[in-house]
């Protein structure tokens, strides 16, 4: 067997074909063999991982039913902005370089309770601010499909770790595409649930009206399994909704006959790479062949999504990042004489260039005299963007578009021009503004073998339909089973 899917590992461990420790050792061996070239992980928690795997094996020996838990023995990776008790958590920022949280995020608690083994923390753009993982304070991550290219971002390490089959399952956060876009660029599955579907308690906050946690996997079924574990109400996060959680595995029927899929063709008129467009059009044909009805829809205000997103996200970021002041945790400048000087210098030295740029922009648009023109205006246009989706989703079950307008881009290609980097978020940010669930799944390859991706967006709280269609597409195609040339299957245990 291999490390490809969580479902396969869980079954093998439950049936005693392999122990949790053997699976964990295989994952760690794979990380050692491949991560030197990729740098998907910022930190590997080998000792803790082996200890928790051993504890699972002991539990299973004394109580075989313990192994019925949904992720029993499954190695997972977490983006480094999830608080993990006794495992360093830095958000890939110098300001938190030595921070070890005294508590677990709710999602981490739920993963541990489900039997998952945390292998380590993955590299990301600093405080999840970026689309290439190049804003990490601790070095870039490389795309397993082409080492001179970025894995996307901000959850680039999580996507690369799954694409390189170091772990079958990783988790990220998605504020404007940070799960879906790296999943797209790395040729794996990435799911952003509905805003409020998953607790954010213990996620280092970036933009609180947009942030959402979700899984990255090699199959839609694994993404569904992971969502089942992490979704649901949490009294520690007041934005987390109490709506009952659907049975996602049951939704994967493979049947999409009669489903209505809307395509906003007008949004794709300019700026979409020709090969990405071709792969997308073929994907739409596949959905049609499977019995879905394809209709054109109009999302007129989505043209404003990028400026609206960056105004709102950065305003919220400037407020959320005010807490990093060198007093309670994190870095403090050693050479300040006064409190005021300590604050200002700590923050200047602790934060990287993109984070400072965003804090300044956010502070500006919230400042006296500019609030109405920028922040309030953006929140109003956000309402119009959201209403466009609501209207469209009254007549269709899903909206389809590419995830990223281009395949993986070269390292360094966009770092000198922040605006150019932002413009590539054209297909992902509106989904966060509207709070809807969206999934990115592989739908083809370019001539030089870079992954292309299909994005499916559903109604609020209707992850079941999103997953059903994505799974049906995956069954009808072979793209999700392709691996980067550098990756061979790791054999576990006996």
């Amino acid at each position: 067997m291999t490390l490809d899917t969580a479902a396969e590992i869980r079954t093998a461990v439950r049936q005693g074909q392999v122990s949790a420790v053997e699976v964990c050792e295989a994952a760690l061996a794979r990380v050692r063999a491949t991560d030197g070239a990729l740098h998907a992980f910022h930190a590997v928690a080998a000792e803790q991982a082996l200890a928790s795997a051993a504890a699972l094996d002991a539990e299973r020996r004394s109580d075989p039913e313990a192994a019925d838990r949904p992720l029993f023995g499954v190695p997972v990776a977490l983006k480094d902005n999830f608080c993990t008790r006794e495992i360093r958590t830095t958000a890939c920022s110098k300001i938190l370089e030595h921070y070890t949280p005294p508590y677990d995020a709710t999602v981490v608690e739920r993963l541990r309770a489900a039997g998952a083994v945390i292998i380590g923390k993955t590299n990301c753009d600093e405080f999840a601010m970026g689309s290439s993982t190049e804003n990490s304070a601790f070095g870039v991550t490389r795309n397993p499909w082409a080492l001179d290219r970025t894995p996307g971002g901000s959850s680039g390490g999580s996507a690369a770790a799954v694409a390189a089959r170091m772990v079958p399952l990783a988790f990220g956060s998605d504020t404007g595409g940070s799960i879906r876009q790296p999943a797209a660029l790395c040729g794996v599955v990435g799911l952003k649930p509905t805003y409020g579907r998953v607790s954010r308690y213990g996620l280092l906050a970036f933009a609180s009206s947009l942030d959402q946690i979700g899984p990255i996997a090699t199959t839609v079924a694994d993404a569904a399994l992971a969502l089942q574990v992490i979704a649901g109400a949490d009294p520690r996060d007041a934005t987390c909704v109490t709506t009952a959680v659907d049975d996602y595995a049951a939704a994967l029927t493979g049947e999409i006959r009669g489903m209505r899929v809307g395509v906003p063709w007008a949004l794709m008129r300019d700026g979409v790479d020709a090969e990405i467009r071709t792969a997308f059009e073929r994907a739409i044909d596949t959905l049609r062949e499977q019995g879905a009805t394809i209709v054109e829809i109009d999302l007129p205000h989505s043209a404003q999504a990028i400026p609206v997103y960056y105004l709102i996200a950065n305003a919220e970021a400037s407020s959320n990042l005010a807490r990093y002041d060198g007093v309670r945790y994190g870095y403090r400048t050693p050479d300040a004489q006064t409190l005021s000087e300590m604050y200002d210098r700590t923050r200047d030295r602790g934060f990287g260039a993109e984070v400072k740029r965003r804090i300044l922009l956010g502070t500006y648009v919230l400042s006296a005299g500019y609030y109405d023109a920028y922040y309030l205006k953006a929140q109003q246009v956000r309402t119009l963007i959201r209403r466009d989706y609501e209207t469209a989703l009254q007549s269709v079950d899903l909206v389809a578009m590419p995830t990223s307008p281009t395949p993986a881009f070269t390292l360094g290609e966009r770092t000198n021009d922040p605006l150019q980097m932002y413009l590539a978020d054209v297909f992902t940010v509106a989904v966060n503004l509207a709070g809807l669930p969206g999934i990115s799944i592989p739908c083809g390859f370019t001539a030089n073998r870079l992954p292309c991706s299909l994005q499916l967006i559903g109604r609020a709280m209707d992850e079941a339909t999103v997953l059903r269609a994505a799974d049906a597409f995956e069954r009808a195609t072979t793209f999700a089973r392709e691996r980067p040339a550098s990756v061979e299957g790791e054999t576990i245990g006996r």
Partner: protein, 99 residues
């Protein structure tokens, strides 16, 4: 109104944001923010009269719970990550505030 974004604006907001920027940073950031704001001007063209702002995308107020007292993080753990603390007194320490 938005439009002319200058180095003086960067200095003003850097004070508000508590960031001690170097001269080099100010020189780099001024045109970058100016570019973005010029680009973001397009939102002004959208007619939003009578449109309410969105704060929670699903329009809900979030979940309510009883305000029941419960234990929070123990003080020694809360202090464990501080750059400087007086652990026996249970206090975070900062540089002198008054002269």
């Amino acid at each position: 109104m938005p439009g002319d974004f200058t180095r003086a604006d960067v200095e003003r907001i850097a004070r508000l944001a508590r960031l001690e920027l170097t001269e080099q940073e100010k020189a780099l950031i001024t045109p970058q923010l100016s570019n973005f704001l010029a680009y973001a001007e397009q939102v002004q063209t959208v007619d939003t009269s009578g449109v309410p702002p969105t704060s929670h995308p699903l329009g809900t107020l979030g979940a309510w719970r009883e305000d029941t007292p419960r234990p929070s993080l123990p003080r020694d753990q809360a202090l464990s990550q501080a750059p400087e603390a007086d652990r026996s007194a249970g206090l975070f320490k900062v540089p002198r505030v008054l002269g």
